[in-house]
Assembly symmetry: C2
Homo-oligomer: 186 residues x 2
């Protein structure tokens, strides 16, 4: 199987249900995957650019796992991209470190899927809000195979019932299974 690297962009995984479940599932089903949790690695945003670049260089398939915050990736993950994807390394005429690698993204939203439509409250699809993510992969000469998405993943302590929580966990596990299915097919 291809070397699989997961970059987790959730800013607070300890208080996450969806992202934590997806990562735990990937870890359980695909123990050879490298999972880099940016919130644990860089609580002060002091990125080790060389270590991150080395991890990316080793991988065949790179997955960005994150919740959509304010219609885009969390600041933590955006800062990682700004810092790690250096000109002359990730992009530009001499920047070929990621060339030919496969890129995947897996996005969760708190609002339901129905909100992310032309007629829904958000007015646009998650794909439309993520034009930049696909372009980002392309600029790094990666092949953006798929953007996975599940909505309605809001879990509020004291409000969300156990039954609802179980449903969210099932949904997150399904997303993880789809990611791993895709990985096997590559």
């Amino acid at each position: 199987m291809k070397k699989f690297l997961v970059i987790s962009g959730h800013p607070d995984l300890k208080n996450s249900l969806a992202n934590k479940t997806i990562l735990d599932e990937i870890s359980a089903q695909c123990p050879q995957a490298e999972i880099r949790k940016l919130d644990e690695l860089y609580p002060d945003y002091n990125f080790d650019v060389k270590a991150e670049q080395a991890a990316l260089e080793k991988a065949d398939v790179i997955l960005f796992q994150y919740p959509m915050h304010w219609y885009s990736m969390p600041g933590l993950l955006k800062l990682y991209v700004d810092k790690v994807m250096e000109h002359g390394w990730a992009y530009g005429s001499q920047g070929n470190a990621l060339k030919g690698k496969i890129f995947l993204a897996s996005i969760t939203t708190g609002a339901p899927e129905s909100a992310y439509t032309a007629t829904g409250v958000m007015g646009h699809t998650v794909e439309e809000f993520s034009f930049g993510v696909a372009n980002y992969a392309a600029l790094c000469k990666m092949d953006c195979k798929k953007i996975f998405y599940i909505g309605g993943m809001m879990c509020v302590p004291g409000v969300t019932t156990d039954e609802q929580k179980n449903q969210l966990v099932d949904k997150a596990k399904k997303q993880a299974a789809e990611i791993l299915e895709c990985l096997k097919s590559l």
Copy 2:
């Protein structure tokens, strides 16, 4: 004139031409504007959320000034949004602190305007990459009046000639003039 607050999201203004020129012009022509330079205020991303919220509360018109990095706002500014725009303050049923304020954005890109079209190398317009910015304003119950944009603002030391640099400065000053014209009309 309305109280004008500018949030500068450029991560390194000392090495900026376009963003620095726009901010300097605004400062010169509209000295009563408050300009908050996030890169100077928060080099360690240690945002003073209360101070930022207080600045926002005082303003009638809020401008986000930033270069487009990786098809969206720089991580510095995204992190500011994630941290400062708290639920129950900026959004949600009880979050009305920004309600009714006017929101503007002013975006610069290094690549030329022609790149940001359906048939250009970026494949989408800056407006399309910025769907989330307009939505962000709407979720905070602000009125997103306009997103200003200029492209081709790349300035490479030792490559960009003085004449080209002067042209970029003129273009940036024109953008500042348009922003101030808009401000007067509000």
